[in-house]
Symmetry: C2
Subunit: 167 residues, 2 copies
């Protein structure tokens, strides 16, 4: 049996899902964050972790994954606080000034900021970020699902840092 | 507006979801396959593409993504056919003999074989594959969602080949 991973051993990447609205996507993000041992998942409200659809997708990850909450109104302020603590905020969205993910080098202490399902990240918040990255896409469908896109970006981070880079 | 991508321009990676049982996962896989321009998505039956839950997750990707069907009973035979046509079958699952995904070099013409949501890929089928790869995982929760894991593996393939490697 694997031992419980203490917070200090987690990868110093925070996943900010404040803008994500669908509880199934939030639950899927919780599962992925837990499987990859991320430091923190930020929900728009911790009440979502009680939601039936969230739980269905999170399987039991909510029991293990460190989570906190930040409302949309507080997001800009929270981002500033994180930056003052030395975290870099990396926006993940399609954007004409975005860096393609395969070319991006993540700062080790990063927050991955996710967008709203249909409308993405407001420009005012993008302007506050340290970088904007996007996953190259080739289809007719406009974009990947937010939980899928986040998992790919987390994998790219872990391929750069952590055990995965040396395994 | 982006032009319709002809099949010849698609990436020569097939995604075999014959063992996947949840229509929401199949729909999510359809969206990801379309966004990444994959050659083919293999469903257990094309009837799933009519399912309401499939459609909800696929958004409109089923209109664009080339799809075919292969039943579980026919899977071993289908895999042999693909191998005779020069395709390599790559199993994606947790396995004690798996190669960690960050260390794996995909053959260009590959089939990514996905597992059943709870039980993965039967050993007899794994034995028939050209390689087995797994995504390093660190959590208490046993594994990533199959659609999330597939998206990460597809990203790894596209980082090695295709436009993404040179963008």
């Amino acid at each position: 049996m694997r031992s419980h991973q203490c917070p200090a051993a987690r990868h110093p990447l925070k996943l900010c899902a404040t803008l994500v609205q669908n509880p199934m996507n939030l639950g899927a993000l919780c599962r992925t964050a837990e499987v990859f041992g991320l430091e923190q998942l930020v929900l728009p409200s911790l009440k979502w972790a009680e939601d039936q659809e969230f739980r269905k997708l999170a399987v039991s990850a909510h029991q293990w994954q460190p989570m906190t909450e930040c409302s949309v109104d507080q997001l800009s302020h929270w981002m500033s606080q994180q930056q003052h603590q030395g975290m870099s905020i990396i926006a993940l969205c399609r954007h004409n000034q975005a860096i393609p993910l395969p070319k991006f080098l993540f700062p080790k202490r990063s927050v991955l900021l996710l967008g709203r399902e249909l409308t993405g990240i407001p420009e005012a918040l993008i302007a506050q970020c340290n970088a904007v990255v996007e996953i190259p896409q080739y289809g007719q469908v406009d974009s990947l699902n937010v939980a899928v896109a986040a998992a790919i970006a987390i994998y790219a981070y872990l391929s750069q840092y952590g055990d995965m880079a040396t395994e």
